[in-house]
Structures are given as C-alpha cells and as structure tokens.
C-alpha cells in the first residue's frame, strides 16, 4: 500500500484541506487503477485515510458502474443498453458479443482478456449504438466494427 499512499498524498495535496470528501471519487479511481477492482475494505481504507465515514465511500463505490466491485479481465467492455442504443440494435450486438466471447453479462473470458458489462446511457445517443472498452469510446457499432475492435486488443 505504500506506493498507493504516496499517490494518495500527492493527489490530496492539490485539494483544499477542508474538502476531504471531494477526494472520495479520485481516490477510488486511483485505487482501481492499482488493484483492478475494489472491495468494501478498500472503501474503509480510503475512508480512514480521508477521515470521512466509511459508509459514504461505500455508497459512492456502489453507485458508479465505472467502479468495479468484482474481479474483471484486462479489457472491460461496457455496452450501452438504454433506449437510443437499443433502437439502433444494441440488443442484437450484445447477443453477438456474448456469442463471440462465449460469456454472459458480467462474466469474464477464461483467459482473463475480456469482461462484458451492460451499462446505462453512455451519453452517446447521437452515434448509437455505443460501447466503451476500458477508457475509449466506440460508436456507430456493427458486427464488423466489433470484430475489428476486438482484433486490435491483446
């Protein structure tokens, strides 16, 4: 944890001392980069570090789909399942992804490469259907686009 604590210190130095709870989300993201996924004890660790109630960090952790609470693969594929994407064929593409990867929603491929998640609106309705792979957006998806995107990933 010592390396992580250094990162925490560097980041919190850039925040006003009386606004410790503003650091909850940045620290959760930092920790996730380090550990892959976050558990309740990680939330307690951050709460202790910041001096905020542990329940507050747990609430934030459970609220955001970009924070993972179970182990995930190297590439996390988040497919939008809201109305615009669904109208543009997201349901079909989700089935395609499931079949191609051989996993269901929320599951990880046995080789640990891909995790498939369904998420709420990615704010990309104009270019639906959309998905996010790790930190990058992929829009106007089709089966062929998906094949190309997955091909590029190790």
């Amino acid at each position: 944890m010592s390396c992580l604590a250094d990162k925490f210190d560097r980041l919190s130095a850039t925040y006003p001392a009386q606004m410790r709870s503003s650091l909850v989300l940045p620290l959760l993201h930092l920790m996730q980069e380090e550990k892959g996924h976050l558990t309740e004890s990680d939330a307690v660790f951050i709460a202790d570090y910041l001096g905020v109630p542990a329940m507050q960090v747990k609430e934030a952790l459970s609220w955001y789909t970009m924070l993972q609470r179970a182990p995930v693969g190297r590439h996390v594929i988040k497919v939008c399942r809201n109305i615009s994407c669904s109208l543009m064929g997201a349901e079909r593409l989700i089935d395609y992804l499931k079949q191609k990867l051989g996993i269901g929603e929320g599951e990880t491929t046995p080789d640990g490469r891909f995790t498939l998640l369904l998420v709420e609106c990615l704010a990309s309705c104009g270019t639906a259907p959309a998905m996010q792979v790790n930190d990058s957006y992929h829009e106007e998806l089709s089966e062929a686009r998906i094949d190309a995107i997955l091909e590029e990933l190790s």
Binding site: E40, V44, P53, M55, Q56, K58, E59, S62, W63
Partner: protein, 468 residues
Amino acid sequence: MIELKIDNKMVAANEGETVLQAALRHGIEIPHFCYHPCLSIAGNCRICLVKVGGRPKLMPSCNLAVAPNMEIETDTEEVAEARRAVMRFITLNHPGECGICDKAGECRLQDYHVRYGEPEPISIEPKSRKPKFYDLSPRILLDNERCILCGCCVRFTQEVSGSHQLGIVERGSHARVERLETGAFDDPYSDNVIGLCPVGALLSRDFLYRSRVWYLEPVRSVCTGCSRCCSVNVWRRNRHWHLRALGEELNRTAYRVTPFENPEINGPWICNKGYDLHRFMARQRVLQPMIAGRGASVEEALAEARRLLSESINPAALVSAHASNEELAAFQAALGPRLAVYSREDYRPAPGEAVEDGLLIRGVKNPNSYGVQALFGHRPYGVINGHDLLLVWGDNAEDTSFDGARVIRLASFGTQQEFTADVLIPVSTTFERSGSFSNFEGKVNRFDKVFDKPELVQHAGELFGRLA
C-alpha cells in the same frame, strides 16, 4: 410572521418555515414520508406536492419556504392526481404483505394508500426482489423489499446519533439500505430508526410478531435508565382486547416501549436502554413479604418493622434514587425527622454500557438522584456511621456491607432467597404507580400507572405513614 393562504384559509407562518410545516401546524394535512421535523429536508418522496399560485408545476411543500401572499392549494384534482401517481410509483415494488407486517395499523404507506392511492396497481411487471431479512443488528431486522428509500434512517445516523453506520447503496430499483459488511449497527440510539421508518422495513426483533399494534395502547411513562428521565410510551394490551382464556399474563405485559415526544427533555428520541425498559421491568420480582427469611403477611411484616424502628437507638434510611418525588415527600413527612438519611444509587453503569454522551445518555443511571439530593443532599452511606438499624429502600443493596445493623428492606426486584433482611417488604415498580421524577436538570417528568400492582406488593409512598 408571514401570512399566506392555504386552501383559501389565511395562515400565519414563521419566517423560514416551510409550507409543509405551516400546514401541519394549522391542522391541514399534507402527506409526507421523507420529511421529519428533526432531520434535514430530503425532498425525495414527492408525496407532499402542492399547487402554488402562479407557478406552472406542482412543488414539494417540504422544501418550499413560506412567502408573503403565497397561495397554496392541497385539495385540487391536479394535486390528487399527482398523489395517486406518486403512490403508484412508491408502491410499484412494495410487497403487499400488510397481513404479516408488524407496521400495519401504524404505517403511513398503508394510511396514504387508502386515502390517496388507488386500489388496483396498473403495473404488470413483477416486483423487484431484494434481501428480505437483512440482518442489520441483533436488535433490528431490515426488509429491503418494503423499504421506500425515504432515507430517514440514514439521515438519523448522520445527523442525530452521528454514527454514520447506515447508507443507501446501489441505485435505481436496486437501491437499498445497508450497513458496512464488516461493521455493526451498534449505535446506542439505533432503535429510533424503527419508529422513524414510515413503512415496515425496519423491524424490532424484540417486538417481531408479538402483537398487532391495534390491540395495544400507549401509557405515558418515564424511562428509569438514567437521570435524563426521557418520556416514553409503554404499550399494554388495550382493555377491549384483554385476553380471558389464553395467556392471562399477556394482559399484564408491556409489549414495547417507544419514545413519547417531549421537547423539554428528550425530543422525539430515546436510547436503546429506553427501548429495553419493559425488559428491565420484567425481571424477577419479590412478591412476598418476609420476616428473617420466612414468609409473612403484610401486616406482620409492618408490625415487625415498626417494632424494630421503635427499639432502635440510632436508625438510618438509605433512600432509593428510583423513588418518585411523591414517595420522597411521604417519606420525609412520616420518617424523615427520626432517621439519619443517606442517598443511594440503586444502579451503576453496567459493563459495556454507554456511560455519557452529548445527546441523551447521562452518567448517573437512576432517574431521581436529583430529587433525592434536592431533599437530603448528596450523602452516600459509609459503614463507619454506626447505625443499629437501616431502612434500605431500593434495589441492588446486597453489595453494601451493613456492618451488623438490623435491616428493613423495601425492594422490587430479586429472587426471594437472596434477601437476608430482618424484614422484607416488596414495593411497586415505576410501571405500577404514577408519580414524577426530577431529572438531572431539575425538570420534573411525570409517569402514569401502566399496570395494577400485585396483591402483596406495597406502594412505598403509602407505607411510611404506617411505619411511623
């Protein structure tokens, strides 16, 4: 003072008050779930929507400050339709299990459903499933399916008790109240969330399935757990529903204890020890007068006590801090001048008990230490005082050495065998008499009789005249 119109009635409201508060104060009912006068405004349940003159949309009255000449309407068809819609939404995932729910009969969701909702749901979707018997603490069970996410319990732990032990996790239809998996909900004020819950989501394990609430009636009493003297309601079986055939003793059972709102002393809260008051009172009682370890009639015991008193050269009394002000006055009038008087603390903090905090709990664990000390001063008994007779009034005296003195005991709790006194006279508990205590600030709080006393048990206040 601000004048505004609610339902065509001119109403005077205080500066900074909300429309909901002003309406409630003037007896105009506006339904509300997430609003509580002692908690911050959440504005999340939307059942308190009202029509405000000149504004296009309905506004939540709980979060709307009063303004001069405001015109509020609460009983238009538009408001009624909004309430129906909100009730439709709130009951969307609420299981219709009032038949087995402890809250039924005192549930706001149930009341509002009858008054503002519609009988049939229009949704054909299956209701969402959530943890049904979530183990919140050894005292409290949480049914997440019944929860309507008003957040009152969460705000209570954040703003009143300060433990921050509850929160709402996940979101949308998955949202639910939880504690930390690795942490307990061991807040000393935790049971308040049971009464705070507007539905049957938070349930007392102690009261679980013990009675329907409409069989019960509250009696105003005072918690004897510490020198705060919080006002409480003790719930006994309603006279109309007394049982004759099965379980006669249930008619003399205190089913539960809840806070009695008293702004002077405890506000709307009490601590968990107050919620356990009925268990404190249900402990083993002494019911039989005794002379030197043998059963006797009340008259015989009194005669023996009188004889001991008249023969004594240097008698003393150890006065109970559970005695009411009225009993203390009776003692003072009848025996005070003849006896050396010492104050005693019947109960001390139990191991692990919260000793004192900034909210309600006080360090002195008896209700009327202040009343005793106001009359007799702070005079703890020491063995060296050399009395030949002690009138020991109150519980838990066995740890004190009486140094060979003769002893007359007035006690309520204990097993008959443990008393070695020369004379033992059982006296009534707080539930069996009315009276008043003076709390640590000198505020007098009265309590009413909940049950009749057992036959051989005496009221201490009536005894002293007969001993003199």
